[in-house]
Symmetry: C2
Subunit: 356 residues, 2 copies
């Protein structure tokens, strides 16, 4: 069966300020040593399975040019512009009707655009297994990351190991971010996986489920589909899409539908959730520093420093994140990496929106 993909690239990624900005979110940044952006890496790693012309990018209209610049060869009509953000369910619905319009039915992989994966071969193999399971029925397949420590920042998915289908396990339930003790129990049980936000299904399967579980949105999506390729396409999208209820695909479909399966993934996944992730991604030197660009350190350790053009020079510092850009430099304690949003709030309040 034809394989297609929808890459979700509408996020704003405030946690990577000052490198990420309103007009340059995380998925369009390079956070690795190879210079490739997150979305470029995302496309690159599915090209063994999906032709470029069958890859759709769902994003905000203001990022359309960025997408086309970073993904040369991608057909312009494959950039699906959400008029407003309505979480993942309407976004995926929009992708599904476009693929449905083009191919009637096909395998549809849904992938975030801002995660990193270390072992691309293993990832492609897992995806291929997921495609098999998806193709063999009305199954909705997700990839669950085998947890190797009790992370409290991720959602978990509980499987039933007695219910197998190909390489996959039946899903019992989706669970919210746990506290530490619960996370520990999850990891030790062997039944739980991290929710990666990656899904594989037939377009017909997801649309059937949407028809039953999110009826209003489904009706709207059919109107949007009817306008694809007509002069009214944009007008219809802009009229209907904003009325969709904002919900995640997990909540709208995955937690309610039947035939939910999970394929375990072991391919060095990282959601790169904050500047703290950079040391995992890039590795550290003998002083436990992760230094990029024009940086000189003296008696400094356990720091992540991203230089831009100017020299960053440090003396006697520990546990800091320093990120330089043309017009702003961030100096944050690693313990406060999650508080960058507080900083952006202050910028808004103090008439410094130019830096957002």
């Amino acid at each position: 069966m034809k394989k297609t993909a929808l890459i979700m690239a509408g996020g704003r990624g405030e946690r990577f300020w000052p490198k990420s900005r309103q007009n340059l979110p995380k998925q369009f940044l390079s956070l690795t040593n190879d210079g490739k952006t997150m979305i470029q890496l995302t496309v690159e790693r599915i090209l063994p399975l999906v032709h470029l012309e069958d890859i759709y990018i769902a994003t905000n209209a203001s990022y359309k040019n960025l997408v086309l610049e970073q993904l040369p060869g991608l057909p312009e009509e494959n950039v699906l512009c959400e008029p407003v953000g309505r979480n993942t369910a309407p976004c995926i619905g929009l992708g599904a009707v476009h693929i449905n319009h083009k191919y009637e039915d096909a395998i549809m992989m849904v992938l975030p655009s801002d995660h990193l994966i270390k072992y691309n071969d293993s990832f492609a193999e897992t995806l291929a297994q997921a495609c098999s399971v998806a193709e063999s029925g009305e199954n909705l397949v997700t990839i669950g990351i085998t947890p190797n420590y009790p992370e409290t920042g991720y959602g978990y998915i509980k499987t039933n190991k007695d219910d197998t289908l190909g390489k996959s396990f039946g899903v019992e339930c989706f669970v919210e971010k746990p506290n530490y003790d619960l996370a520990k129990a999850y990891v030790e049980s062997g039944d739980y996986y991290w929710n990666s936000g990656m899904f594989i299904w037939k377009v017909s399967s997801i649309l059937t489920n949407m028809q039953h579980l999110m009826e209003d949105t489904y009706t709207g999506l059919q109107k949007i589909k009817a306008a694809i390729g007509t002069p009214d396409e944009t007008a219809v999208l802009e009229r209907i899409f904003p009325n969709f209820v904002s919900d995640s695909i997990d909540y709208s479909i995955m937690e309610k539908a039947a035939h939910i399966y999970l394929i375990p993934g072991n391919f060095g996944w990282d959601d790169v959730g904050s500047w703290l992730a950079v040391e995992r991604v890039k590795g550290t030197d003998a002083s436990n520093n992760t230094l990029t660009g024009n940086v000189v350190t003296v008696d400094s350790s356990n720091c992540t420093i991203e230089g831009h053009e100017r020299l960053i020079a440090t003396v006697g510092i520990q546990d800091l994140i320093i990120v330089d850009t043309a017009d702003a430099v961030l100096v944050a304690d690693k313990k406060s990496a999650g508080d960058i949003k507080k900083l952006l709030a202050v910028l808004r309040e103090t008439d410094k929106e130019e830096y957002l």
Copy 2:
């Protein structure tokens, strides 16, 4: 008696990197909120006592243009260019023969160019008292700062409170930087003062002492003096000056000569020895931060941050010094403020001399 001044401005001030550079040492920087540079403030505060045309600036030839730019109206011939640095004794000798050439005899004040003084009126009064003592004989007068805590980073001067002359006390001896216990005893005794490096004497007095205590240098200085105003002036200076023994005026003269007096100074003196001094000079805000320029902080305290053009944004940091410039930014722990020289050494070793 005519009053003249020699301001010593040859220092490199590496401790204020990255704001201070080889081509812009500390004395040419503004470290206060009024935007005036250290040397401008130094000249300004003696203008009630000395005419601008009687102020001499001893400096390195490469800083001559900076001096003339920052001190408009200063006669060009008053900028005395030391061909090489030979510490304070030859520098002061050079100033002395120039003043001797111009006025035969005069009061000569010798002042560092890179200290700050809070109470200018009180300073001028102290200087005037010093001039009286200097004029009334062959006395060599220094200003000693009344210590208000046991600083271990300064030299001290011991006085004999029974030996008074005008407002001054006889000097018993100069002592090196003490350890903490010794410094504490010095402060408690009431006999010791901080060595400020400011001297007041008649030109005739200092030259007579040089003739006896640094004979070779004195002989050379007379040759330099004979060439002043002739076409050979620069050539003679450049031939003779580099041969002078490099010594401080304290060691060469003050510790050996007779008639040494000290006037206590209580005018809010600060030698501004490192970035740590900036919080004393500029004061701190409610979070104990000293912020200058384009800076936004969240949950940050006890930091000194000097912004340049770009935004400096901090989250959750404490006890840091951050200094931004066009081509380099420093992030240092306050405890390591004295280690900036280590950083400059690394810059030299790693082919980054452009930043020195």
